[in-house]
Symmetry: C2
Subunit: 155 residues, 2 copies
């Protein structure tokens, strides 16, 4: 158990530059180094990286992962904070799904309505050009409801 960064990458499924990046932002502690200044990882690093990777797959952002790591480091503490974090994230994911679903419906309507004539007749271009033709009159806030947020799972 004295892995190079490349071995750790293969073991964990996290790319080498990403591991270095995680170290840089403090998600992983600086590992021991070889005589030639190369990183050497033990089993603790393997576990921690697995935790981080899976949390990312679950869509938690880096701040949330930091918090989860803090919580996991105190096994005796009550877990309601972790619970709350996950619940909040769940809500965000649900909100995203809802927005995307409305979006999908509108896109599907547009695409279905297009009958393949000229651009002038094209329902797609008409709807994009005129919000009034759009069935989705969402009047949500112009605030940063935005897309943003952590990206969802990768693998």
């Amino acid at each position: 158990m004295n892995l190079t960064i490349g071995q750790l990458a293969r073991e964990s499924g996290v790319k080498v530059p990403t591991i270095r990046f995680y170290e840089q932002i403090g998600l992983l502690p600086p590992p021991a180094r070889s005589e030639g200044n190369q990183r050497r990882y033990g089993s603790a690093a393997v576990e921690r990286l697995a935790f981080v990777r899976h949390a990312r797959q679950l869509g938690f952002d880096v701040e949330a992962i930091r918090e989860l790591l803090r919580l996991a480091a105190h096994p005796e503490a009550p877990c309601h904070d972790a619970d709350a974090l996950a619940a909040r994230h769940l809500q965000e994911v649900e909100a995203r799904i809802e927005r995307l679903t409305r979006l999908r419906d509108e896109l599907a309507r547009m695409v279905a309505a297009c009958e393949g004539g000229t651009a002038a007749e094209c329902r797609v271009l008409q709807v994009v050009g005129d919000h009034g033709l759009c069935a989705v009159h969402s009047n949500a806030s112009p605030s940063p409801l935005a897309g943003g947020g952590p990206s969802e799972a990768r693998g």
Copy 2:
């Protein structure tokens, strides 16, 4: 019809810096200027900005919007390109919804399983720490399926 950038912003619902940004990346043409070098917009700009804004709300990325604008500029051309663009975007949105739905299910399971004891017993922390406990064994490619993509609607 000779709007300042602020008036255009109020009219369109697009923020002032964003309008300037759209000009910078070529989604809007450089407008006329006042004697004091301030932007003045006519009705063509109002329409074009509405098109761009709505396309963004529908989740098209900038490259796609550029293409849609090109297509809309040729009313006699056949519209299958626009149709195809929208259809592809629709597929991407559907894929995103599917990924997020799987994610939501796993998060919901985690949150439901947590019974509020200590961190050591916390199902949330356990699942994050051990992918094996996760019901979602997605074996998708590690490639840029990523989250990324254009963000969905804002308003």
